[in-house]
Amino acid sequence: MLQLQNIEKVYRTDTVETLALRNINLQVDKGEFLSIMGPSGCGKSTLLNLMGLLDEPSKGKVVVDGKSTERLSDKQMAHFRNQSFGFIFQSYHLINDLKVLDNTELPLLYRSSASGQRKKLATEALEKVGLANRANHLPSQLSGGQKQRVAIARAIVGKPSIILADEPTGNLDSTMGHEIMDILLHLNQNEGTTIVMVTHDETMARRTHRLVRLFDGSQVQ
């Protein structure tokens, strides 16, 4: 489903070069729920961003559904992101000017689907995370947990093959955190969605199928 081959990522600034990832080889299978752990700064987010084509590796390649994503045009990359991935960010990243429903339907805007259809799918996605009754609220009117649930609805609305979640529970208390985790597990078990999740929380990681540990840019487990 998703393969990382000999990935290396170097961040270059004017003065320093940071080797954020080195020699990463990783395969994510269909239907898997994978968690990534490691100390702060070890490259977890970098790894997740590379998986989701939000960033490009310095070396190596990312293969999605058997297709290499090297040297794709901006448009082709956008198409991949739109079709294959759903992102959940630690800080939610909802668009504050848009209502919950409009935030949720965002991925569908970049496909050819009619407005009515978009609204219908977005409402369904919101129902799955238990927020259909907040469809006309603005993000500022929601709690942290609710915002993250909107973010999940947005990530799943386009039925992507993989959900990439970067510390989705990082900003939430543990009850909220487990609620979010429940939703993700449910998606994984009942809808077969492949999920890769970065977390700092051992108890969350234990609830997933497989754990990958990073240390200083290298995979240690």
Partner: protein
């Protein structure tokens, strides 16, 4: 999609009320200024009383004589002989007329001086122009040949001389040192009508000049009325082939040019093509200066819009940076750079269109006050479809100019950077 763009645009505008106010203020002021200018320009070149047939009148404003060896030229008006002899021969025209105007002439009422502007015309002038006669009629061909001391006066002259709305027909008027009989009163012809405006029109045979001289040079302008708008160029063709055969009046010159132009072109030629020798082979219409005119007008509009555009670009860039997280999110979920460029350009066009609507309201107010103040004598400016079309074009141009660069810049933002900011 467009609905979504409008939604987010309005939300963003509403959120940054201060920014919105400043932008809309600048945009609407800029556009209103352009719209008022457009309305003025439109008024100047579109058919106006009494030149209601302006779109099928050819204006022959003068003759130019060139000495191509020395690079000298001499420009002046036309003689009555030229008009009666040469213009009369044109078969494709409906009518022709000629006249000159602008010299002051005084009259006295109870020892109080009334300053008037005189005009001298032939009888054809009244056929080509569409004067509205409040009383009486124009002078006839017979009046002209007999040099009858008759005049057609404007409503304004009548009101000044005889009293408001008094009848003047058949009455005596003293102009300069002579007595004349009023045979017609016309609705006043505004001074903006450079070629035809006057308060008192005399038969040209009353002018103190030798109007039988066969030299084409004189002080008159001629007007040819084509039977239809479509026929204008046919008449023009006939005119030019006729004009090519007119002998040079003066051996100091080796080339002459007499242009028969549409209204706008006649001005442009006078202003922008003063000294150019028209090419003898390339025909006679290729040297009107129209290209230069449009370039200069375009350049002026560009300069005028430059400053507001730059400031709007600046505001836009700041505004877009504030939205970098949104850009990151949209890209993460599949917006291509190009899609985002479109989004931001459309947003900016929506903004400028809003500014345009306010600008139109401002323009209507300004025009109302301009008209009410009588700042330009006898002129009523209006905001017609043409002006509206141009105004919307200006809005669009403005929106594009100020939107493209910021949109392009923001679309190039790296997703990761955008999300971090």
């Amino acid at each position: 999609m467009l609905r979504n763009y409008i939604k987010i645009t309005l939300a963003v505008l509403w959120r940054n009320k201060f920014f919105t106010f400043i932008s809309l203020f600048g945009i609407s002021l800029t556009l209103a200024t352009l719209m008022v200018a457009t309305s003025l320009a439109d008024h100047t070149i579109s058919p106006q009383y009494p030149e209601l047939n302006r779109d099928r009148i050819l204006y022959i404003t003068g003759i130019k004589l060139y000495n191509t060896q020395k690079g000298e030229f001499n420009a002046g008006g036309l003689s009555p002989y030229f008009c009666n002899h040469y213009l009369a021969s044109l078969k494709t025209q409906e009518a022709y007329g000629f006249g000159r105007n602008g010299d002051p002439i005084n009259t006295y009422l109870n020892n109080k001086k009334i300053a008037l502007v005189s005009g001298f015309t032939d009888e054809g002038f009244w056929k080509v122009m569409s004067f509205h006669f409040l009383e009486g009629k124009p002078y006839s061909k017979a009046d002209i040949s007999n040099a009858e001391k008759v005049v057609v006066i404007s409503e304004k002259a009548r009101d000044d001389y005889y009293g408001t709305a008094a009848t003047a027909l058949g009455k005596d008027i003293v102009l300069g040192d002579d007595h004349y009989r009023v045979i017609g009163v016309v609705q006043s012809n505004p001074p903006l009508n450079n070629y035809t405006s006057a308060d008192v029109y005399f038969p040209y045979t009353l002018a103190k000049e030798d109007w039988n001289n066969q030299d084409p040079r004189g002080s008159y302008r001629a007007f040819i009325l084509a039977p239809s708008k479509a026929a204008v160029s046919t008449v023009q063709d006939e005119f030019y082939s006729m004009a090519a055969k007119i002998p040079l009046p003066d051996k100091d010159y080796d080339y002459q040019f007499i242009g028969a132009d549409t209204y706008l072109t006649s001005f442009v030629r006078a202003v922008f093509n003063k000294g150019n020798v028209p090419s003898k082979t390339g025909g006679t219409r290729n040297s009107t200066g129209m290209t230069r005119f449009f370039l200069i007008i375009g350049g002026l509009i560009f300069l005028f819009m430059l400053l507001p555009t730059i400031s709007l670009i600046n505001i836009n860039i700041t505004r877009i940076l504030e939205r970098s997280s949104e850009i990151g999110v949209r890209k993460s979920f599949g917006a291509s750079s190009r899609t985002l460029v479109y989004q931001f350009i459309i947003e900016n066009i929506i903004l400028t269109m809003l500014g345009g609507v306010i600008g139109i309201v401002l323009t209507l107010i300004v025009l109302h006050f301009l008209n009410a103040s009588g700042w330009i004598e006898d002129v009523q400016l209006d905001f017609n479809i043409r002006v509206l079309t141009y105004s919307l074009l200006f809005c669009l141009l403005f929106g594009l100019l100020s939107g493209v660069y910021p949109a392009w810049r923001m679309s190039r933002m790296q997703i990761i950077e955008a999300l971090k900011a």
